[in-house]
C-alpha cells in the first residue's frame, strides 16, 4: 500500500484547492504529482505517514459538522474556507499539520517540470548565454 492509496480522492481535492490549476490535470499529470509526493515521503518515518493520512481524513469529515457534506463534496469556495480555518487554527499542531500537507501539494504540483514551466520559470544551466 502506498501512502496515498487510501486517501487519494481527499488528497486530490486538497491539492486542487491549494493550487486551483491542478483541476485541469489529466490522469498522467496526477500520477506524476503523486509519484513525487510518494518519493518524497518514502524516507520519512511511518508515524508521519499515519499522521498525514489521519489529517487528510479529518479534513474529509470536518465539514460535515458545518456544511453537512464531506470535503470532497464541497464547492471550491467552501473548501477554501475549511483549509483557511486549519491554516489559521489557534492550535499550533493543527497549523503545522496543514502546513505539511500544503507543502506536499505544492511539491507535487510545482515539482513537475510542466508545473514549473507553467509559471514562466526557465532557468538554464547555460545562464546568460541561453538568454541571448
Amino acid at each position: 500500500m502506498t501512502f496515498l492509496s487510501p486517501v487519494r480522492s481527499i488528497f486530490r481535492a486538497v491539492v486542487s484547492t491549494v493550487v486551483p490549476e491542478a483541476k485541469s490535470l489529466g490522469e498522467p499529470g496526477w500520477s506524476e504529482l503523486e509519484m513525487l509526493v510518494e518519493t518524497t515521503l518514502q524516507d520519512r518515518p511511518r508515524a508521519m505517514h499515519r499522521q498525514l493520512r489521519l489529517f487528510l481524513r479529518a479534513i474529509q469529515w470536518l465539514p460535515v459538522f458545518r456544511h453537512g457534506k464531506r470535503f470532497t463534496s464541497l464547492s471550491a469556495e467552501q473548501r477554501m474556507q475549511i483549509l483557511g480555518y486549519l491554516q489559521d487554527h489557534r492550535v499550533e499542531a493543527i497549523r503545522c499539520g496543514f502546513w505539511g500537507l500544503r507543502t506536499l501539494a505544492l511539491l507535487g504540483y510545482y515539482g513537475r517540470p510542466e508545473g514549473a514551466q507553467a509559471t514562466g520559470y526557465a532557468a538554464d544551466p547555460r545562464g546568460w548565454e541561453a538568454l541571448r
Binding site: 518519493t39 491554516q87 499550533e92 510545482y110 544551466p125 545562464g127
Partner: protein, 501 residues
C-alpha cells in the same frame, strides 16, 4: 564488520572537513594516513542538471526539508562531497569583529580568525562580480535601498567561470563555485588523503569509529562509495568531527559524551529566514545571473535582521509564500516578473534551542522562534516591502500580514502591519541554512564543548572543526569563518603531531 586503521579520520567534507583535510594533507608525505568519511555521494559534473527536486534529493539531508522537532520550520544543509559548500551561493564574508569579541573565546582573537579567513579568500578566488553580471533582481534591490537611504553592500563570492545559471543552491551545473568540493578536497586527495563517500558515521568510541557504507540506491545520482557497502570499525589516533551543527553534536551525543559534556547540543542558532516576493509590471532578469549578489546589514545590531537578495526555484518559492489558492497562484504565474529578498533574523542562543538525539540516535533539533526573532523577521519583512515598492513593485507578498498581498496603493498599511503582525509559527514558512552551535568553543565543560582550538574538553585526540563551534550566532554567512576555525584546528593537530600521531 570490516576493520580499517588510519592515523587521522575526518568526519564530513564541507567547509570544515574539506579545510582540515587540505591543511593536514602534507602529512601524507611523511606516511600519515588520513581519511575523510562523507555521508553523501560524489556526483559527476554531468549529473548537476539544475532540476529542483532531483538535485535537492541528491545533495541535501532530507532533500532540504529537515524538520525541527516542533515541525514549524525546515533546515537546509548539504549531504554530499563538499557538504554545504556545494549548495550555497558562494557568498564569502569576513567574520564581524564585534561578534568575535562578544564570543570571547580564549586564544581565539578576531585578528587571527580574520587573517586565516583572508587566506581562504585568496585560495577560493573570492572577489566581487563585475557589474555587467549583476541581474535586475539584484539591481532593483540596490536601487530600492538607495532611494530609501539604506546602504546595500555587495557580497564577495568565490566563483570562477560563472555563467549565471542562478542554480547555485542546486549545485553549480558549471562547477564555477569554488567550494571545498572544487578546491580543498581535490588538493587533499592529490596529496594522498582518501575520501570515502556514502559513509555514515554511527558512533565514536575510544579512538575508534563505527561507520556504515551505504550502497548506491538504484537510479540514484553519484558514484558508488570507494568502499564496499557494509559496517566498518575504523581505528584512528585522531578524530576530527566536521559533520555540521546538526550532525556533529548528534554524533557526539549518541557516542555517549553527553554526561561529561553538559553543554553538548546547546547553543544552537540558525538565522531563521523567510523569502519575500514582489511582482513588477515587466519581466526582469531573475532566474538568470548570480542570485545573491547584495545584502543589507545595517539593521543587524539594532533590529536583529539581515536582508539578502535571493532567487529560488518554483517549489521552494511556492512553499515559502504564505497561503494558497488563487492569490498564491497569481504570484507563481508571475515568476518572470518576481523580485525576491531573503529576510534573516540574527537569533541568539536560547535555552530551548538545542540538538538532541532520539532513541535511535538520530538528530532532533528543538527550535522555537523567540519573541525577539519574530520581531526581527517582522521588521525585516516591512523594510523589504518598502525596498520592493521603492524599486517599483506593483504588489508585495507579505507573509506576516493578515492578508498577504499588499498592493502598491496600500503601502501606507505597512506601519499598521508592523504594529499588528500575523506571525503564527506553523503558518509562515520559515527555513534556515546557517546552522551554528552545539559544540561551542569556550573555557571548560561548564560553558562549552571544546577549547579555543576545537579540542573536546578532556579528550585530547578528539576535535571539532565546523560551524558547531560557534558560541553564538555569527550574524553573517558563515563559510569563511568555518574555514578559518578549521584552519586553527588543523594547525593545532599539525603542531602536536608528534604526540598525537
Amino acid at each position: 564488520m570490516t576493520r580499517r586503521s588510519y592515523d587521522l579520520v575526518i568526519v564530513g567534507s564541507g567547509a570544515g572537513g574539506g579545510t582540515v583535510a587540505q591543511e593536514l594533507s602534507s602529512l601524507c608525505r611523511d606516511g600519515v594516513r588520513i581519511v575523510v568519511l562523507e555521508k553523501g555521494p560524489k556526483l559527476s559534473a554531468e549529473e548537476f542538471t539544475g532540476r529542483e527536486l532531483e538535485m535537492a534529493q541528491a545533495l541535501y539531508e532530507d532533500g532540504g526539508g529537515f524538520l525541527n522537532a516542533e515541525r514549524t520550520m525546515t533546515f537546509a544543509f548539504g549531504s554530499t562531497y563538499g557538504g554545504s559548500t556545494a549548495v550555497y551561493t558562494g557568498t564569502s564574508l569576513l567574520p564581524p569583529k564585534h561578534v568575535l569579541e562578544r564570543w570571547n573565546v580564549p586564544d581565539c582573537t578576531f585578528a587571527d580568525v580574520e587573517q586565516r579567513a583572508r587566506k581562504f579568500m585568496t585560495e577560493n578566488n573570492v572577489h566581487f562580480l563585475e557589474d555587467k553580471w549583476i541581474n535586475e533582481n539584484n539591481r532593483l534591490f540596490v536601487e530600492g535601498c538607495r532611494l530609501l537611504g539604506y546602504r546595500a553592500q555587495q557580497f564577495p563570492v568565490n566563483l570562477k567561470g560563472c555563467r549565471g545559471s542562478s542554480l547555485c543552491n542546486l549545485g553549480c551545473p558549471n562547477q564555477a563555485k569554488q567550494g571545498t568540493d572544487r578546491v580543498q578536497l581535490p588538493r587533499a586527495e592529490q596529496n594522498g588523503v582518501e575520501v570515502i563517500t556514502r559513509c555514515e558515521v554511527l558512533r565514536i568510541g575510544e579512538k575508534t569509529i563505527s561507520a556504515r557504507v551505504h550502497a548506491k540506491p538504484s537510479g540514484g545520482k553519484g558514484e558508488p562509495s570507494p568502499w564496499p557497502p557494509g559496517d566498518y570499525e575504523i581505528e584512528a589516533k585522531v578524530i576530527v568531527v566536521c559533520a555540521g551543527a546538526v550532525n556533529s553534536p548528534a554524533l557526539l551525543l549518541r557516542s555517549g559524551l553527553g554526561p561529561r559534556l553538559p553543554r553538548l547540543g546547546s547553543g544552537f542558532t540558525c538565522h531563521p529566514a523567510f523569502i519575500m516576493v514582489a511582482e513588477h509590471a515587466r519581466a526582469i532578469t531573475n532566474f538568470v545571473g548570480h542570485p545573491k549578489s547584495f545584502y543589507l546589514d545595517q539593521f543587524a545590531r539594532s533590529d536583529r535582521f539581515l536582508l539578502e537578495t535571493c532567487m529560488y526555484f518554483p517549489f521552494v518559492t511556492a512553499k515559502s509564500m504564505a497561503g494558497f489558492g488563487g492569490e498564491h497562484s497569481r504570484f507563481m504565474r508571475a515568476f518572470p516578473r518576481l523580485q525576491m529578498i531573503l529576510v534573516l533574523a540574527c537569533d541568539e542562543v536560547d535555552a530551548h534551542n538545542r540538538v538532541t538525539v532520539d532513541s535511535a540516535g538520530r538528530p532532533v533539533v528543538h527550535y522555537r522562534c523567540t519573541p525577539e526573532v519574530m520581531r526581527g523577521l517582522v521588521q525585516g519583512a516591512i523594510v523589504s516591502a518598502r525596498i520592493f515598492f521603492a524599486a517599483g513593485a506593483l504588489r508585495v507578498h507579505l507573509p506576516v500580514a493578515p492578508c498577504a498581498t499588499i498592493e502598491r496603493t496600500d503601502a501606507a498599511r505597512l506601519d499598521q502591519i508592523a504594529e499588528h503582525p500575523d506571525f503564527k509559527p506553523g503558518k509562515i514558512s520559515i527555513s534556515a541554512a546557517h546552522l551554528q552551535g552545539g559544540c561551542a568553543m569556550g573555557r571548560g565543560p561548564a560553558d562549552s564543548v571544546t577549547d579555543g582550538f576545537g579540542r573536546v574538553h578532556g579528550i585530547p585526540w578528539l576535535f571539532v572543526a565546523d560551524s558547531s563551534l560557534f558560541p553564538n550566532s555569527l550574524e553573517i554567512n558563515p563559510y569563511l569563518t568555518i574555514m578559518a576555525l578549521a584552519d586553527r584546528v588543523a594547525e593545532t593537530i599539525r603542531k602536536d603531531a608528534h604526540a598525537l600521531l
